[in-house]
Symmetry: D2
Subunit: 339 residues, 4 copies
């Protein structure tokens, strides 16, 4: 950590700051510039962390700047270049790009099974579908709960697809793990730290969606919560952030993909459906996601979008989904990957 | 709901849309303009809600616009002008402005008791302090848990202050309710819908903090989650939203106070400490909060901010806190209220 | 335009509103719903425009909603599907994707000539370079002015590349037009309406960069300013918007490309250099831009980025630029286009 | 400036960096931490500025951090605590709070004169009114130009109020200065650097409005543009920034007032009319502005808002304006100031 002193900080103040740094178990290192004096604080990370809160409030200090990254296990700095997560016969984070698709919410057994068969035919290997649905309004459909999990499980039996589904509450986690191959944490729960701790204790890979207003650093810190509890199989999912722009539901931050790939060894997938909020932008954004380096796509598919219980406007039909997959394969190939 | 049709929507498309509206149990109402045709969809709210998802995806439809507010119990439209919540001998939402103060995190019994005595002397009536702390990093202090709740309870015994403290997990709710007079939902949990449902079932008032990137409508929808589960004692708390500006930790949206007061009958308080992130901006923002019409303030206070376990930089010391209260009283009086 | 009335709007209020609508030269059209009453206001656009300002302030009105798009010439609704702009032997907006490259600022004749030769060899057809530089600080390099324009012109002579350069001031426009093939309006001047009007009167194509916090609608309105003054050759350039995310300089909004392509017939190009702010994110974002459908790329190139007068951190060197072009060609081909 | 090195930066890289620092005319200062090595770069500001662009691109460097503020004349660091600007018999920045009011756009002589008389009666001392109007659409009223300036001048003659009006184009500046007492730069022109340079050369105070997405540092840098050209009479005006919240036109950032007062000696005023976008939020926000420490208010007033040529929805009528002034006086008094 570096402390930048105020112009005109007095010798008394500087001495007080130095004594504080030493009390905190750190070694100070002064550099006096023409305009500004800075003091480096060197020592164990834990001590730095504790002292950081205090430092900016010290008299004579203008600002305190942390310089090492607050996440460790999620960082490439631990020496890992790339994590490949294996679930069943699917690899996430390798050269092959995974396609996760399905309805926003599980509706009926017939519906989810039909969708599963169709997305499989088009090239998907993981079925998504919400049984527990986080909805802005208490008056809208909240998901089928365990019934929905059973339908997903049935659809898996018929198709061999893996199942990914969201958990919203620590109390449901065992239940969800009984049925799911991959557990999903939704954007609104990205900083539900108790839930993160709990999924950190299970043996299933976790798709962690980026919060609507989370920085990439916070996103990686949330991954760190899961990893530091023992579960290192975290798949990060960019799904759009909130900006002032209203022509799309959210603004898909595709630069997050290369940024995360530079900072972390974890796989990154992209959900263009929730970002766009409207089906006809899903295909171009999916192609863009592949081109910037995403390790997977998460796409909403529904046979009759206008009848979907939730988020119909952003769902692709079978034929537009197949067409999209066909094009993403070509883009993947162009950059030396496969789908 | 109103459907705005695309220019050049065909007669077939219009007929199809009309048939869909009727199938949805709604009555269509066409208005053909020089430039645009619109169709009003009239009927029961529930049917409108269901049809809305579908509508924008219909061929020939340019956009679908909902026109009635999605929250009901939180809205003034139910006929209530203002809710005053009584807890012990404190009223929140009346002419008197409530001051809630205390440390970010409960640290020791001595510390929290001393703070309680000092804030009481300065004019606060509610003690805040976190026993369960949502922290961005898994490596930082996560709160004392039940131990912390006990200390708060002891401090209440000695001072007569009410206790407000955060709950992060449905599994802790009973425990928190055993000790707290007011339960708090933090900004990061504003859309933790399962937690909202649970606090909707208890008999304690709830302070609901606005999410960092939540619109006021979403904020009121989250209040609606609590209210629709039976607990109508919701206190809304503006605590800063996330913008591109970096000179404060968050951007305090003081216009949220008059906006909410226009839309809802619920009390609104303001937390300038978390918004500013640095103690010397707390006083002016607290004065601003009173002037725009806030029903209360939530302020972090710590005797030795540079030693606080959490968020020291934004904590006021006893003397600056007392001085702030003195000034807020004058501003309150200037607008015909009291503290 | 639609007026949504407040619940409980009185008959007197409704009658007053109706009389106002008629005074404004519009025809009212009432629809009374179970919950809400709405009034459509139908008539000439100009009259609607005038009345819109007034409408929301009328007693009994909850909100006024405009439903037709405020831009005309920039919209597909005028019947044009796609505009292809021809400058010399370069077409922008056709199947071929144009590459515009060069230094942020023109520095010396040798420097800009060398860059021009190198980007041409790699496949660029337009040379960019700033002679007038909008800089946040008055103390930094502000560009060479006319000297810089001459260097660009020399570089054109040697390479046959077209020249695109920025104009910041109506007083410089004639001068810039004497040297440039394409005139650029920077992001900070996207709503410098007087400048837009002036470039609307010249006979050169205009690259219009999206403002850092401009909505897509405002972006198209600024194009409309240029077009309504007579110059229909507008090339829209997405270059990143401002969000809370700090790991990139701005957040490149790649969804703007398909959104604009849906709303407008104008060509859209992407500048990943300014959006990323750091060179190693430029290539993946350029590939993403091609994949989402951009008609061109604008890339900063400098032989010795660490010596650039401006924005060195985001400039590619010759070899990384060539390598990037090679990859973009493959992605372009994958989606049926060429570079 | 500080360079933070990458973990594992090689000795060769470090030596190269050191040589670069020295070539740049700076003195390096290494501190090796357990985790990270940092190098301070000390020397003349100008040399630091030049080297900064280069530094982050050097091999082995993770980031470069500037630590002294890029604005000088606008900063308190030059030794000034507070600037009070005198125009006629009005002081801006002193203990008395100035009220600037008037119509959004000048419409007719009668209209502006009547408004001037009424705002004067209520307590305003400066008349605002746009003769040159920056409008999002080319099809809306663009202002009366010189005719409007004459009307303002007439209104001044009748009332003794000072006149503040916007300039949008360097070519109009002489004309505007002939009529105005205070020149205004609008939010959309906050980074129209050529215009800033020009108003820096005139002898009239300048109201500089904060751009919709400008950081406070950029705001102060724009003030610096004006000041470094010779005109030190800059009045900063907060008028709302762009966020995702849609219930107000912009989000008024009242924390900008204490932040700027801490960083700069320049006066700060607040325009709640443009921030709110709707008249009934203007009064509470004006009270809030006074409470947080604003040196003035800028308020839109119109006798018949629903007939205003521009921004009617946010204009106060005479009686609501008088009532607002009455209340702001009380809040001003409560904090020891006057209006």
């Amino acid at each position: 950590m570096i402390l930048v002193l105020k112009r005109g900080a007095t010798t008394d103040q500087v001495n007080y700051i130095l004594s504080k740094i030493e009390q905190a178990g750190l070694k100070p290192h002064i550099s006096e510039g023409a305009d500004v004096t800075i003091i480096g604080c060197i020592g164990h990370e834990a001590a730095v962390k504790v002292f950081f809160g205090e430092a900016e409030a010290l008299p004579g200090v203008d600002k305190a700047i942390r310089i090492s990254k607050p996440y460790k296990l999620a960082s490439k700095e631990i020496g890992k270049e790339r994590t490949v997560i294996k679930v069943g016969n699917v690899e996430i984070g390798g050269n092959n790009i995974v396609v996760i698709a399905g309805p926003c919410a599980v509706e009926t057994l017939e519906n989810v099974t039909e969708i599963a068969e169709n997305i499989k035919a088009a090239g998907a290997t993981v079925l998504r579908g919400g049984a527990f649905k986080p909805r802005t309004s208490p008056y809208t459909f909240q998901g089928l709960g365990e019934e929905g999990l059973k339908y997903l499980s049935e659809a898996r039996k018929k198709t061999g697809l893996l199942v990914a589904t969201e958990v919203m509450d620590p109390r449901d986690l065992d239940l969800v793990c009984d049925y799911a191959d991959i557990v999903q944490i939704g954007a609104r729960n990205m900083q539900n730290f108790r839930l993160l701790q709990e999924v950190g204790k299970v043996k299933k890979p976790v798709i962690l969606k980026r919060g609507l207003c989370s920085t990439i650093q916070e996103f990686l810190m949330s991954a760190e919560y899961i990893m530091s509890n023992g579960n290192e199989d975290v798949i990060l999912c960019e799904r759009g952030i909130r900006t002032y722009e209203t022509s799309t539901r959210n603004t898909l931050d595709l630069s997050a993909v290369p940024v995360i790939k530079r900072l972390s060894h974890l796989p990154v997938i992209v959900d263009p459906s929730h970002a766009a909020g409207i089906w006809y932008y899903v295909e171009p954004l999916a192609l863009g996601a592949i081109a910037v380096g995403a390790d997977g796509l998460m796409i909403e598919v529904h046979p009759v979008p206008e009848k979907a219980y939730s988020d119909g406007a952003q769902s692709l039909k079978y034929d537009t989904f197949s067409e999209m997959i066909r094009k993403t394969k070509q883009v993947a190939e162009a950059i030396g990957r496969s789908i």
